[in-house]
């Protein structure tokens, strides 16, 4: 394993390279790239979903949903394959996680904007970024409560009502993926993002006590 890490010729500082490698960054990047490609391809596509509440069918733009998936990938990328080994790292896990999250959210935001620009759906950038932040916050909250591997469950579960039983004519706060972008929805997204990430960071032990 270590030999493979040493043989990788990526022009990055060694600690960052090792961090990315231990977190299977190429796989996360590949999944992120697929999501971004889908966003570029179907960004302005409207899919009409059956309304399980019996009302009018629910028109959903792909640019509303895919950022939530990207947010889930951001959180999943924070898990490593080293198990308990990383708990005894020399640096604070909390700090490493904060840097990782900041970098991943930045990359995801840039990718989202670029994908929508390339796909000709620049007007969707605002709701897409809002949903990315909301999804990140909820996924972080999920990671804090359920663990990183199950973090995707919370944003997907909370997005489901908007896609299945929502009233397309009159959106409510719980229909956050399809709600129009206004000050309230942005405030909600920023609040969720801040709360989720803070909870996750507080939940993450700075160092594991090796004597335990």
């Amino acid at each position: 394993m270590l030999n493979r890490v040493r043989n990788v010729s990526i022009p990055l500082p060694a600690p960052l390279r090792r961090h990315l490698w231990s977190h299977s960054a190429p796989l996360a990047a590949a999944v992120l790239a697929v999501c971004a490609a889908a966003l570029a391809w179907w960004g302005d596509t409207v899919v009409t979903l059956p309304n399980l509440s019996g009302g009018a069918a629910i028109p959903v733009e792909a640019s509303d949903c895919l950022p939530v998936a990207i947010a889930a990938v951001v959180l999943l990328s924070t898990s490593d394959a080293l198990g308990g080994f990383s708990e005894h790292a020399a640096r604070s896990r909390r700090r490493i996680l904060a840097i990782h999250l900041a970098g991943a959210v930045t990359v995801a935001s840039v990718l989202t904007c670029l994908s929508l620009l390339v796909g000709g759906a620049a007007d969707q950038i605002s709701p897409a970024l809002r949903n990315l932040l909301m999804g990140t916050g909820l996924a972080a909250l999920g990671a804090a409560l359920l663990g990183v591997r199950s973090s995707w469950i919370v944003p997907l579960a909370l997005a489901t009502p908007a896609l299945t039983v929502g009233n397309p004519a009159r959106t409510s706060w719980w229909q956050w993926p399809t709600a129009p972008t206004d000050t309230f929805s942005w405030t909600l997204a920023l609040l969720a993002c801040a709360t989720g990430i803070t909870t996750l960071l507080l939940r993450t032990a700075r160092y594991r006590n090796v004597l335990c």
Binding site: L52, L156, V165
Partner: protein
């Protein structure tokens, strides 16, 4: 059975079953309007619980199995075959998911029995739901085994959304999550249910044999591919599309009838026996509104009971729709359709239906919904609206004119 009990205890779905039960119950009880009018509606409402259960089954089972793979636990020596071990694991997950489904079913049935709804539950609907849950869990199990990794559960859940909300559209495919349309005169298609059961069985076999596709034993994969191929061929061949609806007209094997004060007979499906008084009240209003224009009719039948299942009143869409369809039934029985009618007759016939509907509601304006025009593109609503503003005598005179116009051409 020991292995099964062990798997049952270690399955993470044990804990997920609690929030899933809450979500599934919410989908039945608090979405989709009134579900407890009759057993057909309650049976169809039960399928609304399927969507969260199927997506969760796909995502959580895939996540669980991919986690087992990553821990290399599948390599543990066992006296049973590897397929049997896979089946045991899948059975444990499915048991928790089905426990949720059956709990929701039990709650709904208990509520229906508690309020004394006539007739009984339609058993193929819980079977439809259980098949969907098992199918999704088997698919998730196979995905988790074939593509293990930390993204597996998440990607499987996304696949669940795409499959059950977009690819298998509601009401047209045997693999859809829910029965979206349910009236009293239709019932789940036997052919679709058969396909669903068959594809579920194929998916379970695929899940059990998928372990051989990732084994290093080169002799096994070809055999293990057969169930997967069978499942794919089955999915390609299954009936689907708008021409093959998930529900089909129901055979009328019984009816409940009673007489009104005007001498007409009112007949409903056995599941609507408790709503006969509601129909009698509405039928009385319609027949009183028709006095002086049309004679009383012998019988009013609920949709699907008579005349090839294409006519009759409906009880499933509210009291306004009941009056509208009863008014239509009254006019249609008094003046049967004729293929030789011209625009003039069609307009008169449709005007009469609309006028009688408005009169039976006691309104002097048109009912607030789009009215269907039969046989003609001419908009007759403005004339009816104008007629409704006149004194009663003039209205009756105009209505009699419509009757004479339609009866001028007979078949």
């Amino acid at each position: 059975m020991t292995g099964f009990w062990i798997e049952l205890r270690r399955s993470p779905l044990r804990w997920w079953s609690i929030p899933l039960a809450a979500a599934a119950l919410s989908m039945v009880l608090w979405t989709g309007g009134s579900w407890n009018d009759s057993w057909p509606k309650a049976s169809a409402a039960l399928t609304r619980a399927n969507l969260p259960l199927m997506i969760a089954a796909l995502g959580l089972t895939a996540q669980r199995v991919s986690g087992i793979h990553r821990s290399r636990n599948e390599c543990l020596p066992t006296a049973r075959s590897r397929a049997w071990t896979e089946l045991t694991s899948l059975a444990a997950d499915v048991t928790w998911l089905l426990a949720v489904h059956l709990t929701v079913t039990g709650v709904v049935w208990a509520m229906m029995w508690g309020q004394g709804a006539p007739s009984g539950p339609w058993l193929e609907y819980p079977l439809f739901g259980m098949c969907g849950v098992v199918f999704a869990a088997a698919l998730g199990h196979a995905l988790g085994r074939l593509l293990p990794g930390r993204f597996t559960g998440f990607l499987a859940a996304i696949a669940g959304y795409v499959l059950f909300l977009v690819v298998f559209p509601s009401g047209e495919s045997p693999l859809t999550a829910t029965v979206s349309y349910q009236a009293i005169d239709v019932r789940l298609s036997g052919a679709h249910l058969g396909w669903r059961v068959a594809l579920t069985a194929a998916a379970v076999i695929v899940a059990a044999s998928s372990v051989y596709l990732v084994t290093r034993d080169r002799r096994r994969p070809v055999i293990a591919l057969l169930p997967a191929m069978a499942a794919l061929v089955g999915m390609a061949a299954m009936p689907s599309g708008s021409e093959s609806p998930l529900v089909q007209p129901r055979e009328a094997t019984g009816r409940v009838c009673t007489g009104t004060e005007s001498g007409s007979e009112v007949c409903v499906w056995p599941e609507h026996a408790h709503r006969l008084s509601e129909v009698i009240t509405a039928a009385t209003r319609v027949s009183q509104a028709a006095v002086g224009v049309l004679p009383p009719v012998d019988a009013y039948s609920e949709h699907g009971l008579e005349r090839g299942g294409v006519a009759g009143f409906t009880l499933d869409h509210g009291s306004g729709d009941l009056l509208a369809t009863l008014a239509g039934e009254h006019v249609d029985r008094s003046i049967p359709f004729c293929a030789e009618w011209k625009d003039e007759q069609w307009v008169a016939h449709s005007s009469l239906r609309l006028w009688l509907d408005a009169r039976s509601r006691g309104r002097d304006s048109l009912p607030g919904y789009g009215y269907q025009s039969f046989g003609s593109d001419i908009d007759y609503r403005s004339q009816v609206e104008e007629t409704l503003t006149r004194p009663d005598d003039e209205q009756l005179q105009q209505a009699r004119t419509w009757v004479e116009t339609t009866r001028a051409v007979t078949c």
